[in-house]
C-alpha cells in the first residue's frame, strides 16, 4: 500500500498500489466495460472487455487484474480498444443463443448493456447456434445455458462467498459448460444451498427464478460486494 500518481487518458490521478486499474477508473468515474468482473469476487480477466493500453507494455492488459504502479500511463479508449470491445461483444452474441425478445433479463442484462455501449447494430460473424441444455430441475431456479457467457461469476460467488462450491466448469474451448456438482441436474445437487446468489451474480438471463416472464427479472449483483464488505466488518468487529 503506497500512494502513487498514475495517468489515465492523460488525466493525472492519485491512486494506491493496492488498487487495480479498474478500481482506479471506477473511483474516478472513468467508464470501463466489464462482464466477468463483480465486486466482491476475485478477478480473472476472462471477458477481455476491460483491456487497456499501458505505455511501455507491448500487449494489452486487463484492467481488472493489473495493479496500478507509480507513473503508469494508461489509455482506456483508443480506437483499437474500442474496436476490440465491439468484436468481443459480437462474439458473445454469436457464441450462444441470445434472444433478448424472449429473455427474462431483457432490460436488466449486462450483455445487452455492453451491446449498447459498443454501438452494436449487427453481428458480423456467423452465429454458432450451439445446442444448449436448459436445466429446470431445481425447485426455484432455471439454468439456461443458451444465455451463458462463461464469465464464471456464478462459479466464483458459489465458491468464494457462499462457500458451497456447487458450480463448476467442464470441457474446454467453445464446448465449455457451467455444471452443477459433477454435471448432474441442479435439482439433485447435494452442495447447493438454494441461496440464489448465483442468480444475482449472473450478468445475463442464464440463471433466473421460475415463474418469471420476459423482462421481469430484477437482480442485485451489487449485493454480492456489499455482503463481502459486511462480512469483513463483522469479522473485524467480532
Amino acid at each position: 500500500m503506497a500512494a502513487i500518481t498514475i495517468y489515465i487518458n492523460e488525466q493525472k490521478i492519485a491512486a494506491d498500489t493496492s488498487q487495480t486499474i479498474l478500481e482506479v477508473c471506477k473511483a474516478n468515474s472513468i467508464p470501463m466495460l466489464t462482464l466477468c468482473h463483480l465486486k466482491g469476487l476475485h478477478d480473472i480477466g476472462a471477458c477481455r472487455l476491460c483491456l487497456v493500453e499501458i505505455e511501455g507494455v507491448n500487449r494489452l492488459l486487463s484492467a481488472c487484474t493489473t495493479y496500478a504502479t507509480d507513473q503508469m500511463s494508461i489509455k482506456t479508449a483508443t480506437e483499437k480498444i474500442q474496436r476490440y470491445q465491439r468484436i468481443t461483444v459480437e462474439l458473445f452474441f454469436a457464441e450462444r443463443n441470445h434472444v433478448c425478445a424472449v429473455c427474462v433479463a431483457n432490460g436488466n442484462c449486462e450483455l445487452q448493456d455492453a451491446g449498447y455501449a459498443v454501438g452494436l447494430d449487427a453481428i458480423r460473424y456467423p452465429y454458432l447456434y450451439p445446442k444448449c441444455d436448459v436445466d429446470t430441475s431445481h425447485d426455484w431456479f432455471v439454468m439456461d445455458h443458451n444465455r451463458c457467457i462463461m464469465c464464471t461469476r456464478c462459479v466464483r460467488v458459489c465458491t468464494e462467498v457462499e462457500g458451497a462450491g456447487n458450480w463448476g466448469v467442464m470441457n474446454r474451448g467453445h464446448q465449455v459448460r457451467i455444471i452443477s456438482d459433477f454435471n448432474t441436474p441442479w435439482g439433485e445437487s447435494t452442495t447447493c444451498t438454494d441461496c440464489g446468489k448465483c442468480m444475482h451474480a449472473c450478468p445475463t438471463g442464464a440463471i433466473w427464478p421460475k415463474a418469471m416472464a420476459q423482462g421481469q427479472l430484477d437482480k442485485f449483483p451489487e449485493m454480492i460486494g456489499e455482503l463481502v464488505e459486511k462480512r469483513k466488518l463483522l469479522t473485524a468487529g467480532g
Partner: protein, 556 residues
C-alpha cells in the same frame, strides 16, 4: 553421500564400464520399444553369452538415437556402427558378424536401403555429421535407467561444482554469461529469469520443469527425459541452488509413460545415493523433486495453467502480471523452465558459459533440438547449432524431400508457429530470424511439406487444434478460434468469399492481441503466416463475387 563418495562412485562406475572393450547400445525409446527393441536387446545379450563374448562386450538399453523411422536401432561403440530395423531374429547373425568375424553386416547398416554407400561409422553420415550435440550427447549412449552410467559420464559433477565452489549469484552469472535462452519457445533469457526469482525473498520457492510437450509432431522433451533423465534432474537441482528453492516439480504429460517411468527411476536412484534430499553432498543445500502427471491438456504447457494444474485446480491460465517468478506455485516465487533448458545447465556449469556461447549465433547461443518430420527422407530427432540454415537441415541432414515432390514450406513452432516458404530456405534457425518471417522457434517441431500440401488446409488443421485445446476461459480465444476455424473450413470446402478472408484477418489480429494467454496469442500464427506467404492459395479457393450473384447467393 559426500563429495568424496561421489568421486569414488564415479570412478567405480567408469572402471566397471571401462572393463568392456566394446558396447552394444540398443535404442529403447518409445518408438523403438514399440518395434520390439527390448526383445532385440535380450537376444543380443544371449547371443553374446553363447559366443563367449559377454565379458568383452557390454549390451545395454539406451535412449533415443534420433532416427525413429529406422528403429529398432543398435549401435556398436566405439566404432559408432549403427544397424537399423534389427529384429530379435537378426541378433545372432549381427553379433557373429560384428564381433566374431569382425565384419560389419553391410545389408543392415543404417540407411543401407536408401544410401548407395552406407557408412560403417555413422558419425560420417551426413545425418549425424552436421549435428552438434550438447543436450543429446549422452542420449543413445548411456543407460537412462542406471545412475552409475550417468556418473561415469561426468554426471552430477556440475552439481558438485556449484555446491562446493560457487555462490548462487555466481551460478546465475555463469548462466547469464552462456546467453542460454528458454527452450520452451519464447526464448526468454534463462539467466535473467533465474535472477528475477532469486531476487524475490521468500522462505519457500519452487523449481518447476515443464515437460508438457504438446505440439503435434514434437518429441524433443520426451526423448531427453527418456534418454538422459538425470541431466534434467541435475539441471533442476542446480537451478534450485541458484534461486534458493528446496522443492522441484517435474510436470510431464501423461502420454509420456516411459519418460515418466525413467524420470521416476532417476529420482529414486538420486534419492538413494543422497543426491536428492537433505544436505546434498555435505552442503547446506536440500532439495527434492516430485513428478506431476499432466492429463492431456495442451494449455497446461502455459506456465500459469501448469501451476494451476499442479495445485490441483482446473488447468486454465491466469493473467500475468503477476509472473510466476513473483507469485507462482501456491503463491510462492517459482522458476519454470522447459526440459531442454534444464538439460543445458549441467554442461554450461561443467564447461563454462563462454564455451556454450561459442556455439550458435550472437543472439541465440547454443544448440537446439528439432523433431524433423513430414515429407522428408530422413526424419528424426536432430540437434544443431542455433543459426543453422533451414536448407542445411532439410537437404543435408534430412536428405531432401521424400518422393518426387518439391519443397514447399517448413512449419516450425507447431500450432503457435508459422510456415517458411521456399524463398526463405536460407534462413538461420534462431529466435529472431524465425520471428521476422512470422514464425517462431517454438519448442522445436519442424514439419517439412512438399507441393502436395494444401496450405489453407494446414492453417485449418492448426486452427482446429487450437480450437479444441483452447481452455475456454477467455472470450477471444474460446469463440475466436472456433469462428476462424469455421471460416477456414468454408474456404477449404470452396465456399469461402473475399468477405471471409477479410473477417479472418481482422479476427486473427484481435485474437492475437486480446487473448488472455499465449495459446490464444499465438493461435492465429499459422493462419497469418500462410496468408502472408501463400495468399494465392486462398484467392484461388474463393468463390468469385460474380459467381455469387449468378447463383443468387448473397455475401454474408
Amino acid at each position: 553421500m559426500n563429495r568424496q563418495e561421489l568421486q569414488t562412485a564415479a570412478d567405480k562406475a567408469r572402471q566397471q564400464h571401462g572393463h568392456y572393450k566394446q558396447k552394444v547400445c540398443v535404442c529403447c525409446g518409445t518408438s523403438c520399444m514399440a518395434s520390439n527393441a527390448e526383445q532385440v536387446l535380450q537376444h543380443i545379450q544371449e547371443a553374446l553369452k553363447e559366443n563367449g563374448l559377454d565379458q568383452e562386450v557390454e549390451a545395454n538399453l539406451t535412449g533415443c538415437m534420433g532416427l525413429c523411422n529406422q528403429g529398432p536401432l543398435v549401435k556398436v561403440l566405439p566404432d559408432h556402427t549403427i544397424y537399423q530395423k534389427v529384429t530379435p531374429a537378426d541378433a545372432d547373425e549381427l553379433v557373429k558378424a560384428q564381433f566374431v568375424a569382425k565384419q560389419p553386416l553391410k545389408e543392415m547398416l543404417l540407411f543401407a536401403d536408401t544410401r548407395p554407400e552406407p557408412f560403417v561409422n555413422a558419425n560420417d553420415d551426413p545425418f549425424f555429421k552436421k549435428q552438434h550435440k550438447i543436450i543429446l550427447k549422452d542420449c543413445g549412449v548411456i543407460n537412462p535407467e542406471d545412475i552409475e552410467e550417468y556418473l561415469a559420464h561426468d554426471g552430477y559433477q556440475a552439481l558438485d561444482k556449484v555446491l562446493t565452489s560457487m555462490l548462487p549469484e555466481e551460478v546465475i552469472a555463469e548462466v547469464k554469461h552462456s546467453r542460454l535462452r528458454g527452450r520452451g519457445g519464447a526464448g526468454y533469457p534463462t539467466g535473467l529469469k533465474w535472477e528475477t526469482v532469486y531476487k524475490h525473498v521468500n522462505d519457500q520457492k519452487y523449481v518447476v520443469c515443464n515437460g508438457d510437450e504438446g505440439d503435434p509432431g514434437a518429441f524433443m522433451n520426451r526423448s531427453v527425459l527418456e534418454g538422459n533423465p538425470h541431466s534434467v534432474l541435475e539441471g533442476m537441482m542446480i537451478a534450485g541452488y541458484a534461486i534458493g528453492a528446496s522443492k522441484g516439480y517435474a510436470y510431464i504429460r501423461g502420454e509420456y509413460r516411459l519418460a515418466i517411468k525413467r524420470f521416476e527411476t532417476a529420482i529414486k536412484q538420486a534419492r538413494k545415493m543422497g543426491l536428492l534430499g537433505r544436505q546434498i553432498l555435505g552442503s547446506n543445500f536440500s532439495f527434492d523433486v516430485e513428478i506431476r502427471i499432466g492429463a492431456g491438456a495442451f494449455v497446461c504447457g502455459e506456465e500459469t495453467a501448469l501451476i494451476a494444474s499442479i495445485e490441483g485446480r482446473r488447468g486454465t491460465p491466469s493473467p500475468r502480471p503477476p509472473y510466476p517468478a513473483e507469485c507462482g506455485l501456491w503463491g510462492k516465487p517459482t522458476l519454470i523452465n522447459n526440459v531442454e533448458t534444464y538439460a543445458n545447465i549441467a554442461p554450461i556449469i561443467r564447461h563454462g558459459g563462454e564455451w556454450f556461447s561459442a556455439t550458435g549465433t550472437a543472439k541465440s547461443a547454443g544448440t537446439k533440438v528439432f523433431a524433423l518430420a513430414g515429407k522428408i527422407k530422413y526424419s528424426g530427432l536432430i540437434e544443431v547449432p542455433m543459426g543453422t540454415s533451414l536448407r542445411e537441415i532439410v537437404y543435408e541432414i534430412g536428405g531432401g524431400i521424400a518422393g518426387d515432390g518439391q519443397f514447399k514450406a517448413a512449419q516450425t513452432g507447431g500450432p503457435s508457429g508459422g510456415c517458411i516458404p521456399e524463398q526463405h530456405l536460407d534462413v538461420g534457425m534462431d529466435y529472431e530470424s524465425l520471428m521476422s518471417l512470422g514464425s517462431i522457434m517454438g519448442s522445436g517441431g519442424l514439419i517439412v511439406m512438399d507441393d502436395s500440401s494444401d496450405m489453407v488446409d494446414v492453417a485449418r488443421f492448426f486452427m482446429e487444434f487450437c480450437m479444441d485445446e483452447s481452455c475456454g476461459k477467455c472470450a477471444p480465444c474460446r469463440v475466436g478460434t472456433k469462428m476462424m476455424h469455421d471460416m477456414l473450413q468454408r474456404i477449404v470446402d470452396g465456399q469461402g468469399t473475399q468477405h471471409d478472408v477479410e473477417r479472418l484477418q481482422e479476427l486473427a489480429l484481435y485474437v492475437k492481441e486480446a487473448s488472455l494467454c499465449g495459446l490464444g496469442g499465438s493461435a492465429p500464427n499459422p493462419l497469418l503466416s500462410t496468408l502472408r506467404h501463400f495468399p494465392h492459395e486462398y484467392e484461388q479457393r474463393l468463390v468469385p463475387p460474380h459467381a455469387l450473384v449468378a447463383t443468387g447467393q448473397t455475401v454474408k
